[in-house]
């Protein structure tokens, strides 16, 4: 066994070039890890926020409520579609005690209540059994499907917010306009 052959053993097992390459690779890897860590933290944070937002949106994606108004003299209410103007009618003109224009609100089970807010007008509640009319002011929380009555003017706006666990999950507006002594509404 010559000197050279035993030398080869150590050259192979404690290889100078191998050690050198290892040191370089580790250093570059650590540098990459530091940079990627630096990049990953904001990326993960952004993704997390986005997921929360998407989850929130998805949770309340299917919430809705419907608005019905009486568009003619019949007592039949009709569902109001978005962005379509409808004529507001007091469904029974003969009954002078009808306090205002009736609008029926119907919410689905995903909504806890409807926040109804009115500008330039007043919300009324009419008990048809005893004829008592309650003035509710310009703001009312509606917990069940019900008809409310509205005293409106030309520039009245009725804002309806669907709330779930105290948070707004859907919002719509009814914009009231008048022409030739007729009142019209548009659901947006």
């Amino acid at each position: 066994m010559s000197k050279k052959t035993i030398k080869n053993i150590f050259e192979e097992k404690i290889n100078k070039d191998e050690i050198y390459n290892y040191v370089l690779c580790q250093t570059l890897e650590n540098k990459t890890k530091k940079i990627t860590k630096f990049i990953w933290v904001p990326i993960c944070a952004t993704c997390f926020v986005f997921m929360l937002f998407a989850f929130h949106q998805q949770t309340y994606q299917n919430v809705s409520f419907n608005v019905y108004a009486y568009t003619d003299q019949s007592m039949k209410k009709q569902k109001i579609e978005d962005n379509i103007k409808f004529q507001l009618t007091k469904y029974n003109q003969a009954m002078s005690s009808v306090p205002g224009f009736p609008i029926y609100f119907e919410k689905d089970s995903n909504i806890d209540y409807l926040d109804i807010e009115m500008t330039h007008g007043e919300i009324l509640n009419w008990n048809q059994d005893n004829g008592v009319v309650d003035k509710l002011g310009s703001y009312y929380k509606l917990f069940e499907n019900k008809t409310l009555y509205f005293e409106v003017k030309n520039n009245t706006e009725i804002i309806i917010r669907g709330k779930k666990k105290g948070k707004e999950v859907i919002k719509k507006r009814i914009i009231i306009s008048s022409k030739d002594y007729q009142y019209y509404g548009e659901l947006k």
Binding site: M1, I9, K13, I14, E18, I19, V23, L24
Partner: protein, 172 residues
């Protein structure tokens, strides 16, 4: 952050210091298979602090700390005594003028020899490394390891003899 200038500086320091550093590590390790790990740790530290290092003496200081740290944290045995009692008896019988180079000519396998060396006391691997790899003389080896020259020679001779027998038995 390591830039091109730092890498160039590192290359230079690595080439210039490797022989001395590897010699130091081999002479102060407890197991020959630890040498590679320790050297890697040393030079990783060197590259990390390359901007502060301006000579090889600094690297030697790192090497000393790394050897200590390695055995402290890995709970490995510290450097043992170089000789046990029975070694001295055997050494006395081996002629001092024996020619190590001519004595053996055996087919070998790197893995088998390495495996064999790992089973021996660390001083054997140290002597082998210093003699065969770094090409130190017996006198230089005795100075490095703080043992007599005759002991170095005797260790070499005895191990080569045993290795020969071992390889012959492996080849059968």
């Amino acid at each position: 952050m390591v830039n091109q200038d730092d890498l160039k500086r590192f290359d230079e320091l690595y080439d210039n210091s490797y022989r001395d550093i590897s010699k130091y590590v081999v002479c102060h390790c407890s197991y020959i298979e630890d040498v590679k790990d320790i050297l890697q740790n040393i030079y990783l530290d060197v590259l990390k602090n390359i901007s502060q290092i301006d000579n090889e003496a600094y690297i030697m200081a790192i090497a000393k700390n790394k050897v200590k740290d390695y055995y402290r944290f890995h709970y490995k045995k510290r450097i043992k005594l170089l000789f046990e009692k029975e070694d001295k008896d055997i050494i006395a019988d081996i002629p001092s003028d024996i020619d190590i180079e001519r004595s053996f000519s055996v087919h070998y396998d790197v893995e088998i020899v390495w495996k064999y060396l790992k089973t021996k006391k660390v001083i054997i691997s140290q002597i082998f490394y210093l003699y065969y790899y770094l090409g130190l003389s017996l006198q230089e080896i005795s100075n490095e390891l703080n043992i007599s020259e005759s002991n170095v020679k005797n260790h070499l001779y005895r191990t080569l003899k045993e290795l020969k027998a071992y390889l012959e038995s492996e080849n059968q």
